[in-house]
Amino acid sequence: MKYFYLVWKSVWRKKVRTWLTILSIIVAFLLYGLLQALNYAFNSGADLANAHRLVTINKVSLINPLPMSYLQRIRSVAGVADATHADWFGGYYQEPRTQLANFPVDPEAYLRINQEVQIAPQDLKRWKSERDGILVGRSLATQYGWKVGDRIPIGATIWQRKDGNPVWDFQVSGIFDDTRGNTAYNLLRYDYFDEARAQGKGSVGWFVFMIDPQADAARVAEQVDGMFENSAAETRTSTEQAFSESFIKQFGDVGFIIRSILGAVFFTIVLVSGNTMAQSVRERIPELAVLKTLGFRDTGLLGIVLGESVLVVLLGGVIGLGLAMAILSAVAEQFASVLPNMSLTDSAAIQAILIMLGLGVFTGVMPAMTAMRLSIVDALGRR
């Protein structure tokens, strides 16, 4: 629009001051981008969960085992399309501190139920033929430089071998990807694991199963748990999403903490830009009065002032957000094994733009209103 030139020129009236304001806004939105990505990384487990996949754990806690015999019974429940089991192997690589996420599973069934896992057909075939084979997640493979055919020793933590060897040896059968973004885990074969372990034979950690699209998840869950009530190992079944959420909640309300910090940050920004804007408008009251004498309407002047404040916030905000995105893409690899899915989602970006617009209007509105209320005569008289 034709007023843009005027607005643009007015923004740069005092170069240093404008740059300083823009810089603090850049910092604010850089923080916004990084923290939102962190927030997403924490919660993505729940967001990306499959609504038709349910998890059954021991009612006492996730740590307690369940008998393998439950599998058949779960499969028999109406509405259950497919079911399998999994366990937490734990284990460390090279140093006891470097604990890994290793899961002993049934190769066929697990991949059927977790279609998000992407594996090349020849790697899958190899895994099925190698009893001590391990499928490694891509981010771990990249981090430790594992290739197909490598032998990797995993130190025992929870599960000891019955032959007394403190190390479990595995052969890398293949490298997999996961469309959910997290590839910081490995899959081993349950049959090999069960045979070689010293305790807990025949038990599993939990069950994962798919329900028919038209089945009611809550009812199926109730039925499954009802089946095992009053048995030696009672169960608790929930959707994968609910399960992830309750797990994440144990870390504390990360979302709340992040929102509070961002709140403090934006509060400061509003202070700084608001103050700058107010100063700027105050200085220009005689000019604004002149524009009025030329015939500019109040609404027009309001628009010009708001245009300036919004423009300043947009400039800083877009640059800050861009910086955040650049940093995230640079470090995402490093963090992939600890915090996968650390990225700025589209909705977070859109939210950021809306916040920018809101902040721009908010910081410009007050000074603009005071300026509007001045009569031209008074304003012109001021020197």
Partner: protein
């Protein structure tokens, strides 16, 4: 020159009330930075304090070799007996070793604040457990009776998780337990736990006669070496020994480090933002007082004194902000109890934010830095203000 400087600084500070708008902005901006900085880092400090409070130097913890956490460890009954009888273990009046073989499982309890479930440690202990550790004190009820499904709960656990009041009955899976006592553990991690008789736990969870760890009271902190050597020399044992202090320090390291890795860069970024804010304020301040400064210069006040006075004004505002931020954070957050999942124990640790004097001091230093950096360029500008033109600005 000092006199000039002090006189001008005093004048500037007195005149701040005429520039209250811009000055408040600088103060509040720095307060926000210091506040967030102190809040985030007090989380790490509180967490570490909780973990450290649990560890004492004359208590040793023995686990299977290679196990980094109790959950990963396994010790047989025979091993436990050998360990308890080893050299360096303190004995009580009856000549019995002060040692406690322990095992814990994770049970589910709803968090009072959110209602969602959380992993809480249920620890089976031997009678000496209350003495092996230095800081356990019963504050309500009594200790559980041997052989009964009774619990004593840590004070922090009782506050954070639902249904753990004195006399309450709790159901874990199929077993029913009664809460018969509450204990205080000096704010340490033990307070996040539920304790019971180990024999009862072993039977309830089909653990046979196995343990995860043995805690012993040493005759003295120095005895740790003798004790470790004795265990290492025994061919029947395959264990690792560490002082409890070391053990808990290791446990807390990861989470504390994570909080710091997020906290420090966050604080630095915010500080940069605050510096820009402070710069803005100080530039505006210098511009607004250009005539004043020029008049003073015309009267003979030197440029260096002017610059330093500006710098001091900026430092004063920032320190005010730092103080404000620190006090607010202390009032709001200190002692605020939260719980989170500790990766190594896979269960909740309840800890309180600790806004330590050290942290507040760091905050003030940060504020001072912000003030100095924010005031530097404006101070230079004030010093180099062309006197004649500034005076003509009438």
């Amino acid at each position: 020159m000092i006199k000039q400087m002090l006189a001008m600084t005093a004048m500037n500070v007195r005149n701040i009330r005429f520039r209250i708008g811009a000055s408040s902005v600088a103060v509040l901006g720095v307060a926000a930075v210091v506040g967030v900085f102190a809040a985030v880092l007090s989380m790490a400090a509180g967490f570490e304090r909780t973990m450290a409070a649990a560890g004492s130097e004359d208590t040793a913890i023995v686990m299977r070799k290679g196990a980094s956490a109790e959950l990963n460890s396994g010790i047989s009954n025979e091993a436990r007996q050998i360990i308890s009888a080893a050299d360096g273990v303190l004995r009580n009046g009856d000549g019995k070793p002060i040692a406690s073989g322990e095992l814990y499982v994770v049970v589910d309890r709803p968090i009072k604040a959110t209602g969602t479930g959380a992993n809480v440690p249920l620890r089976g202990v031997e009678a000496p457990a209350f003495v092996v550790r230095n800081n356990i004190r019963m504050v309500a009820g009594r200790v559980f009776e041997a052989g009964k499904q009774e619990l004593v709960v840590g004070r922090a656990a009782q506050q954070q998780f639902a249904g753990l009041d004195l006399g309450a009955t709790v159901k874990f899976g199929k077993s029913k337990w009664t809460v018969v006592g509450v204990f205080d553990a000096g704010g340490s991690v033990s307070e996040s736990e539920l304790w019971c008789d180990i024999k009862v736990l072993q039977s309830a969870y089909q653990r046979g006669n196995s343990y995860q760890s043995v805690r012993v009271k040493l005759t003295s902190p120095a005895a740790l070496e003798t004790f470790s050597a004795a265990l290492a020399a025994d061919p029947r044992l395959n264990v690792s020994v560490s002082s409890e202090m070391e053990y808990y320090a290791n446990q807390s390291r990861d989470l504390a480090r994570f909080i710091r890795i997020v906290g420090y860069p966050l604080a630095i970024l915010m500080a940069i933002g605050a510096i820009f804010g402070a710069l803005n304020t100080m530039y505006a301040s210098v511009a607004a007082r250009a005539r004043e400064i020029a008049t003073l210069r015309a009267m003979g006040f030197g440029p260096v004194a002017v610059a330093i006075a500006t710098l001091l004004e900026s430092a004063f505002l920032s320190l005010l902000g730092g103080f404000l931020g620190g006090v607010l954070t202390y009032l709001i957050f200190n002692g605020y109890q939260v719980a989170t999942l500790n990766g190594s124990s896979f269960s909740q640790v309840v800890f309180a934010f600790a806004v330590t004097p050290e942290l507040l001091f760091k905050g003030l230093i940060a504020a001072l830095l912000i003030g100095m950096l924010g005031g530097l360029f404006p101070a230079l500008r004030a010093a180099r203000l062309p006197v004649a033109t500034a005076l003509r600005e009438l």
